[in-house]
């Protein structure tokens, strides 16, 4: 292939191995996008546009706009006639990409002590003046992990989607978007410089927008897509400013070139802190952190597999990846690191409290995602890049599992309602209950994911969450973060505060997840007498990926076992991921750790015991306090009172933003920019004003043309006299 350029050949031990084919990993989903996109267009030429209105969607609509987008799955009559092509191509390209990624991974493992990244340069993209940006992919240990997560989890979700979306008339369009998303996500994680990463960053945002508004014929869904897009623009502004600052001061945007200059960064200086903070602003948008998290819960308007892939497992973790990728910047800016910790911890706690009181099963998971992303940011902010990426990975497993499980539940609920022609909310947990009798596999798998996210050993979430909290605790002593000050507070105090918030959020996580499980799967069934007969397990094409994810969610902790565990039990190698990522993030971590170190083994054991006790007590509290038997279906439920109501309404943050930002923006746009500047100044004064001025001067000129010869003669004579007088004065002094 011509893009196998000579620039990298022969220099890296990976050249010539399967890793040399890494350019094909993103191109495969792009190919899938083209094929599925063509299929989607073909049908439009024959059957009219693949428009969701064709799905008699209105007949199944209910009043909960954003919530019930999934009320679609079963319409045998409207299945796309080329659905079979899409069913093969859509997941097929992901399987191929995953196999390729796995081959590249094996090739990387085969090279001993691989430290230099494998960079493939394809062509020069922006050679402008001093700025030179190449289209180049960079395969190192970090991007390898991300590629495996994206293609692996993505592949499972693609397969699940076949079962979930097959009956939708927009099926090929759905897979076209999903494939395009994977392409951009792979560009994001493989890009060798910030601009290329930014292309992926924007591309996944676009696909997120397209897929949130997939059922765009309903205004709430289209609005949710727009909200996600616009909120993300605020974050992208920060990303762009950070890139500008980097280029203006260091003259390059390439990861390797910047990392080579990392020693020249002024430690804790205002410039590097500003760059890090602007990058973090971008992260708060893409990864849904305070104050820009508001789009993610609304993003649940999209199909559930989309929520699983984009809004839980991959895209929203791009911010975590960005910080881990920029570890050499953040390691030099302890104040920015503390900011990341504070924002992450606050988000983890804040979102968890909202999750306590949501009734929509997907909304609970959405706030749970926001909360878990907060944990990841606490990790990467504290310089525990390995722990952050580790939690990213395990979270991808168990949260994708939870979302897909919820998808199965919604699918089944909707089918049951469809059979009996009842219009009710298929996503409200008050309408579920007792589903474990009907969906045994989903029930067991979702319990595994719940235990994992709650941090119960030996499930994966326990190891990753514990590593984040444990590392954070150890940073309170001696690290550069502890010595820095954040808004006047000593770093140590900030870190202990964040640790306390993290523990509190862990308690809440266990509570709201148990609540979700109890209300959905336990207690009596509230779906309805007739509907109950139609409840059954989802087809194998949906449960199959769930089983794989369930295994990963259960044993994912094996990828990075802490020493304290391996010393006691011979479970496997210690810190596999830590050793793997060391060439990428090791230097950054070491810089953050400074003179600090690990906590003593006894303290570490105590911390683990506390974390586990908190998780167990969270589950115990939920089991004892919550009474699924007393719950009534949504239609008969009375509104919440007091603080519960505040939580149910998400602290009214949307309303506050609406009053503080959206309305003033509207008012300024309408009254000042539109009526004032556009209509008044531009149209009125400048456009019509200049026309009026021309007409006025014309009118004045025309008044001299009286037609009276006498007047003309007078003017002529006076003019002559004037000229003669002037001549007289100038020539004859």
């Amino acid at each position: 292939m011509l893009i196998q350029s000579a620039a990298s050949a022969g220099t890296n031990p990976l050249a010539g191995t399967a890793a040399g084919w890494m350019w094909a990993i993103p191109l495969l989903p792009l190919l899938g996008f083209l094929i599925n996109g063509l299929v989607a267009l073909t049908s439009a030429a024959h059957f009219g546009p693949a428009d969701p209105t064709a799905a008699s969607h209105a007949a199944h609509g209910d009043d909960d706009g954003a919530g019930h987008g999934d009320a679609h799955a079963a319409h045998a009559s409207t299945r796309h006639r080329f659905a079979a092509v899409t069913s093969i191509v859509g997941p097929g390209v992901l399987v191929a990409a995953f196999l390729l990624a796995a081959a590249a991974f094996l090739a990387m493992r085969a090279v001993p002590d691989l430290s230099a990244p494998f960079v493939q340069r394809y062509f020069s993209w922006m050679p402008v003046g001093d700025l030179s940006v190449d289209v180049a992919f960079r395969l190192d240990q970090l991007s390898m992990v991300m590629v495996l997560v994206v293609t692996g989890v993505g592949m499972l979700i693609h397969i699940f989607s076949v079962g979930y979306m097959r009956e939708d008339p927009g099926y090929p369009r759905y897979f076209a978007y999903l494939n395009l998303f994977v392409f951009f996500m792979l560009v994001l994680v493989l890009g060798a410089n910030y601009p290329l990463l930014f292309i992926g960053w924007e591309g996944v945002g676009l696909c997120s927008y397209l897929l949130i508004g997939f059922w765009f014929s309903e205004k709430a869904n289209a609005d949710a897509g727009k909200k996600a897009f616009i909120v993300n623009r605020i974050g992208d502004f920060g990303f762009l400013i950070a890139m500008f600052l980097l280029f203006a001061n260091y003259g390059t945007l390439d990861f390797s070139a910047l990392q080579a200059q990392a020693g020249a960064f002024v430690f804790g200086g205002p410039l590097i802190t500003a760059i890090a903070l602007f990058f973090f602003l971008g992260c708060t948008g893409k990864s849904a952190q305070i104050p820009l998290y508001i789009w993610l819960p609304d993003a649940m308007a999209g199909p559930t597999p989309v929520s699983a892939l984009i809004h839980a497992a991959t895209m929203v973790t791009a911010g975590v990846y960005l910080i881990a990728r920029s570890n050499f910047i953040f390691a030099a800016a302890p104040v920015a690191g503390l900011t990341v910790i504070v924002v992450g911890a606050l988000t983890a706690f804040f979102a968890a409290t909202i999750g306590l009181k949501q009734w929509d099963i997907k909304k609970v998971l959405a706030y749970s995602t926001v909360s878990q992303l907060g944990y990841m940011f606490v990790g990467v902010g504290a310089g525990a890049y390995v722990a952050g990426i580790f939690h990213l990975m395990t979270h991808a497993f168990f949260k994708a599992l939870l979302f897909l499980g919820a998808g199965s539940v919604i699918h089944v609920m909707h089918e049951a309602y469809h059979h009996t022609h009842r219009h009710d909310d298929a996503q409200d947990m008050r309408n579920m209950g007792g589903l474990r009798k009907h969906m045994k596999v989903t029930w067991i798998l979702m319990w595994i994911a719940t235990l994992a996210i709650s941090g119960i050993p030996p499930f994966s979430g326990f190891f990753s969450k514990d590593e984040i909290l444990g590392t954070l605790f150890s940073r309170a002593d001696g690290s550069t973060l502890a010595q820095a000050h954040w808004l006047g507070l000593p770093g140590t105090v900030v870190i202990y505060g964040a640790y306390a918030l993290g523990l509190a959020a862990a308690l809440l996580t266990a509570i709201y997840m148990t609540r979700l499980m109890l209300y959905t799967f336990h207690g009596p069934n509230r779906t309805g007498e007739q509907e109950r007969a139609h409840l059954h397990e989802a087809p194998w094409v949906m449960t199959g990926p769930l089983v794989v994810l369930g295994i990963l969610a259960a044993v994912g902790g094996w990828f990075n076992l802490p020493e304290i565990v391996t010393r006691a039990l011979p479970l496997g190698p210690t810190g596999l991921l830590e050793h793997w990522l060391d060439p990428v993030v090791g230097a950054g971590t070491a810089r953050v750790v400074g003179s600090g170190g690990e906590v003593a083994a006894g303290t570490e054991g105590l911390l683990i015991a506390v974390a586990v006790a908190i998780a167990v007590s969270g589950i115990a509290i939920a089991v004892t306090v919550l009474k699924p038997a007393r719950l009534v279906p949504k239609a008969q439920a009375s509104p919440e009172q007091g603080f519960e109501r505040v939580l149910n309404n998400k602290y009214y943050v949307d309303e506050i933003y609406d009053a503080a930002v959206v309305r003033p923006t509207y008012d300024v746009s309408r009254n000042l920019l539109w009526r004032g500047i556009d209509t008044g100044l531009i149209d009125g004064l400048l456009v019509n004003g200049s026309a009026w001025l021309a007409r006025l001067t014309g009118w004045i000129g025309s008044q001299f043309q009286s037609g009276q010869l006498g007047t003309y003669a007078w003017v002529l004579v006076l003019g002559v006299l004037l000229v003669l007088g002037a001549f007289h004065h100038s020539v004859l002094p």
């Binding site: 000129g701 009286s706 037609g707």
Partner: protein, 97 residues
């Protein structure tokens, strides 16, 4: 001799100018224009006596033009009168913008 001639022609020219400016009858305005032309002719002739015959050649040129102008101008005035039954310039403002 030259001074007197020039003074006389200046007086004639001024009479012509005043006539053009003040009179309303197109014929009289026309005749005043002729008067001005002839005042200039007188100046030419007077200067010709001092500086050579070049000025006299100009006089013939002006007289020729004046004759042509008289023919055209009177024709216009007649046409105007036929059309409007007046030669009062205040009633004629076809050039109004």
């Amino acid at each position: 001799m030259l001074a007197e001639s020039l003074f006389f022609s200046a007086v004639l020219f001024s009479i012509g100018v005043i006539g053009v400016l003040t009179r309303r009858n197109a014929i009289i305005v026309f005749m005043c224009v002729e008067l001005m032309l002839n005042a200039v002719n007188l100046t030419f002739v007077a200067f010709a006596r001092v500086y050579g015959a070049g000025g006299q050649v100009f006089v013939f040129l002006v007289m020729t033009v004046a004759a042509a102008e008289a023919a055209v101008g009177l024709a216009i005035i007649i046409a105007l009168f036929r059309h409007r039954h007046t030669v009062d310039l205040q009633n004629i403002n076809l050039l109004k913008g």
